[in-house]
């Protein structure tokens, strides 16, 4: 029984029943004699619509105008229904289908909000969604392909750096690019350097001046002092993000499930020969 109560379609049908029930109740009073009743509830509803936009109370003229507008709409609407103009009208069809879909979306919000445990389960089960990319702390020294003797310079500077010397002034902020990068995620490194630079870092040894590594700017000597492997972000820190993802993913699942459950209620017969077999079989 518990499981049964958890089924989205059950909720969906219950909700649908409630909506239907409400409307037949409301309509039964008036529909019989074509009377259009504006009672307190109806008036309050129209009034709230009006105030929602105008953000003040209406004067008598305003009230007359929106009642007028309402009646005009009701009269045409009822007459159109009586004439059966709603049948097979593509816009009416689409609107009703949209309404039904919206009901299924609302279902998601009506179900109990996820508990801390739900969120944690979701977080554990979808580890790839909540992984932080690998990040690096490194220094770099740049040589451009346009420097005539860059290879020689490269070796000289590499040797000097290995002996603990400072980066030469001419290569500090070369091309305006910082020499020191602290705890930078791999995607940002990729954006800042271009080329194959970011993807190469993973294969380099730590705490050594190595190179040449190619980027969109030229060749680099690189010294990686710290590598933080891709890891699951701390749950507490990203809880609100997990919650957002949970809602998004469950809403998608719910939509699909309601569609498929309903599809079973309506047997589909595809008789046209023009539709490929593989598509026919998928229903």
């Amino acid at each position: 029984m518990r499981k049964f109560l958890k089924e989205p379609l059950v909720h969906f049908l219950l909700l649908g029943g409630l909506i239907f029930g409400y409307y037949s109740l409301v309509n039964s009073e008036s529909a019989s004699e074509n009377t259009i009743v504006i009672d307190d509830a109806e008036y309050d509803y129209l009034l709230s619509l009006w105030k929602k936009q105008w953000k003040r109370d209406p004067n008598e003229e305003d009230i007359k105008a929106f009642i007028d507008q309402y009646l005009r709409q009701e009269v045409f609407y009822k007459e159109a229904l009586a004439l059966g103009l709603d049948h097979n009208d593509i816009i009416v069809k689409r609107r009703l289908a949209q309404k039904m879909e919206a009901v299924s979306n609302d279902l998601n919000a009506m179900l109990k909000p996820p508990t801390a445990a739900d969120l944690e389960d979701f977080y554990m089960a979808n580890d790839s969604l909540f992984r932080l990319p690998t990040s690096y702390t490194f220094q770099q020294v740049l040589f451009t392909n346009q420097e005539p003797n860059w290879q020689q310079e490269f070796v000289t500077i590499q040797t000097a750096l290995k002996e603990g010397k400072e980066i030469p002034t001419s290569r500090v902020l070369k091309l305006s690019i910082s020499n020191d990068w602290k705890d930078i995620p791999i995607n940002e490194i990729n954006q800042s350097f271009g080329g194959e630079f970011a993807s190469k870092l993973g294969s380099l040894p730590l705490n050594q001046w190595v190179g040449p590594i190619s980027s969109g700017f030229g060749k680099h000597l690189v010294f990686i002092s710290e590598k933080n492997d891709s890891q699951l972000a701390d749950f507490e820190r990203i809880k609100s993000y997990v919650e957002k993802e949970f809602e998004y993913q469950t809403e998608l699942e719910m939509q699909e499930q309601v569609f498929h459950d309903l599809l079973e209620k309506y047997p589909v017969k595809i008789t046209s020969d023009k539709i490929p077999e593989s598509i026919k079989k998928s229903y």
């Binding site: 619509l49 009006w50 929602k52 936009q53 105008w54 953000k55 929106f66 709409q73 593509i90 816009i91 689409r94 609107r95 790839s128 969604l129 909540f130 992984r131 932080l132 990319p133 990040s135 451009t144 392909n145 346009q146 002034t169 001419s170 500090v172 902020l173 070369k174 091309l175 305006s176 910082s178 020191d180 602290k182 705890d183 930078i184 995620p185 995607n187 940002e188 954006q191 800042s192 350097f193 271009g194 080329g195 980027s215 969109g216 700017f217 030229g218 972000a233 820190r237 990203i238 993000y241 993802e245």
Partner: protein
């Protein structure tokens, strides 16, 4: 793919929290204590200034024309896209290739109220026939018919609004939604948002549009639209009133190429000749002109500048087939700058003293989606597929294949905050690119070195001994121009750097000329011209040449013909090696799609640094 993206987004979230700690240990940058909306931030500050890239021209579903074409993304969605989050564009997931540093949503001021009614169930007018059919148009043809029936016909009949307009309260409501989205997405130091809108006046279909930018949260109740005043003078009058209320505001015109000669005019809209008051008011409020956007590049066209070998670039020539927007010299920015210095000589003040910005004018809410290989159109159902782009027209405007993904703005600023970015644009220390993240610095002064030991020393010298782009050079001696340009790390190297000079001679004649001041691969000839680069794009794969060109240029250049008594301007153009245009990417990815013969497949992207002016005092 979605998973990968959310990892990136998560990383942004996570590392932005970490930022405070990191930056304290970073020697190159300082910290700035910054407050916004009652919160304190400790954010990185760079005394050398950094180039922050962003969008200053973008429409969302809150622009009624965008809504009708199928866009449903809100200002909030647009800001999320700019920060790297996935959104649904024309029913398909899409992500920017590289997130932006800053952005402004510029929805049309004209139909904000209608947009509110269209988007908010329960608001009056939501269920009107017009609103319904706008929401439910299933295809482009229906959408256009609906647009004609409810909007164009109403306007032609002398009404400012379609009949489902609910009045100024609805305008206020949508303006408030835009304001809230702009506030919500502001992350000082990380991502800047700017309050803005577009004033879209088009008398006799001449495009006189201006994007209007506010410095802070001191904002008008309702934006001034062309329905309240269609002449620029009326807009400036309104801005004057705003200033009296403490609102800090400026505007940037765009698309002079569609202006039928009216953006850089001889007379004001009341047919009176341009006088000193007009000129100084205009210069006070109008700070930059949009160099390039999806509807074309407005710098120059070969028709009137046959000697500019790079003039044939995203000219959007098919504009001329519609609305009588025939090209004339008056429509282009280089002419406008020339006319501006001539007015300076005549009136003592330059009405067209413009810096440069670039934008997209996308109506899909995709901020600066400017990369050719990532282009998915900018106008909803009209250009959503490669096939549509190759063969459809943009109703009433031009051919889709003549459009381009649009330009980008770089602003030199000490920090990524709303005030710093706004100030950078206001002082014209901004530059435009046709899309790539090329960086360019430009100074005029005296006593620069031939070469610099370090970048830091060069920048410090630039400010200490000269003025940056957007300012006047005040010396009497011939100025030295210090130009630095850096390639985009994911794009090819640079071809060359040029300085464009315009001046007015003693007889009042306007002139302009181009100097090649640096070129890669030793291509500079003795006579100062440059041998064209041979770096072809691979037409099968779309790959660019990775060997040739230069990643960086640093040049100090002196004008051989400098005359301190001449009113003149100088601006910089940086040319990149050839790359594949989106039309080539479309053909490579869709073997069935064939663009017409006249479509360019390869382009040379570029950057334009704002001018430096010479204004002799008599």
């Amino acid at each position: 793919m979605r998973k990968f993206l959310s990892v990136l987004f998560l990383a942004i979230l996570f590392f932005s929290c970490e930022e405070k700690k990191d930056q304290t240990e970073e020697p190159a940058s300082d910290k700035l204590l910054y407050s916004h909306a009652g919160k304190d931030y400790e954010i990185p500050e760079n005394p050398l200034k950094e180039a922050y890239f962003g969008e200053q021209h973008l429409h969302t579903a809150a622009s009624m024309d965008a809504f009708i074409a199928g866009t449903r993304l809100t200002p909030d969605d647009a800001y999320r896209f700019a920060q790297g989050e996935e959104v649904m564009v024309n029913g398909r997931p899409h992500t920017i290739n590289r997130p932006l540093d800053w952005a402004a949503v510029t929805d049309h001021g004209e139909f904000l109220g209608e947009a509110y009614t269209l988007m908010n169930p329960g608001s009056p007018g939501y269920d009107s026939e017009a609103a319904k059919s706008m929401r439910e148009a299933p295809d482009l043809k229906t959408a256009l018919a609906v647009y004609k029936k409810y909007v164009l016909d109403a306007l032609a009949g002398g009404n400012a609004h379609p009949d489902f307009w609910q009045g100024y309260e609805s305008v206020k409501s949508q303006w408030q939604v835009n304001i809230e989205a702009t506030e919500k997405n502001y992350a000082p130091g990380k991502f800047t948002t700017i309050h803005a809108y577009e004033w879209s006046s088009a008398p006799n279909t001449a495009n006189l549009h201006r994007n209007v930018f506010f410095r802070d949260t001191n904002l008008p109740e309702i934006p001034f639209s062309s329905n309240e005043g269609a002449s620029p003078q009326e807009l400036w009058d309104w801005m004057t009133t705003q200033e009296a209320n403490g609102v800090m505001v400026f505007c940037n015109p765009h698309n002079p190429n569609e202006s039928k000669g009216m953006l850089f005019p001889e007379v004001a809209m009341n047919d009176k000749p341009i006088d000193e008051t007009y000129a100084s008011t205009r210069q006070h409020f109008e700070r930059n002109v949009e160099m390039m956007q999806t509807k074309g590049n407005s710098e120059v066209v070969p028709d009137f500048w046959p000697n500019d070998e790079f003039a044939d670039f995203e000219n959007a020539r098919s504009l001329q087939e519609y609305n009588g927007r025939i090209f004339e010299k008056h429509n282009f920015i280089r002419y406008g700058l020339n006319r501006g210095v001539k007015y300076q000589a005549e009136l003592g003040v330059n009405p067209f003293k413009y810096g440069f910005v670039g934008g997209t004018d996308s109506h899909n809410a995709v901020m600066s989606n400017v990369e050719e290989f990532n282009y998915v159109g900018h106008h909803g159902m009209a250009d959503e597929t490669a096939l549509d782009r190759s063969r459809n027209e943009q109703e009433g405007e031009m051919f889709n294949r003549d459009m381009n993904p649009g330009g980008l703005t770089g602003v030199w600023a000490t920090s990524n905050t709303r005030e710093a970015i706004w100030d950078g644009m206001h002082s014209r220390e901004s530059f435009a690119t046709s899309g790539p993240r090329i960086k360019v610095r430009f100074f005029a002064g005296n006593g620069f070195k031939e070469s610099y030991e370090s970048y830091e020393e060069m920048v410090k010298d630039g400010y200490a001994k000269g003025v940056p782009m957007g300012q006047n050079y005040e010396g009497r001696e011939a100025p030295e121009f210090l130009v630095w340009a850096l390639k985009d790390p994911i794009a090819p190297n640079l071809d060359r750097v040029q300085i464009i000079k315009g001046w007015v001679d003693a007889d009042g004649e306007m002139h302009d000329t181009i100097y090649d001041i640096a070129a890669s691969d030793n291509r500079m000839r003795a006579d100062g011209t440059v041998e064209p680069i041979d770096a072809p794009v691979n037409m099968e794969t779309g790959e660019f040449n990775k060997e040739k060109g230069s990643p960086e240029f640093t040049v100090v250049w002196k004008d051989p013909d400098f005359d301190p008594n001449q009113n003149a301007y100088y601006y910089v153009r940086v040319i990149q090696l050839p790359t594949a245009r989106y039309s080539l990417w479309d053909e490579i990815r869709n073997p069935d799609v064939q663009y017409p013969e006249d479509t360019k497949q390869v382009i040379q992207e570029r950057a334009w640094a704002s001018p430096i002016w010479i204004e002799p005092k008599n």
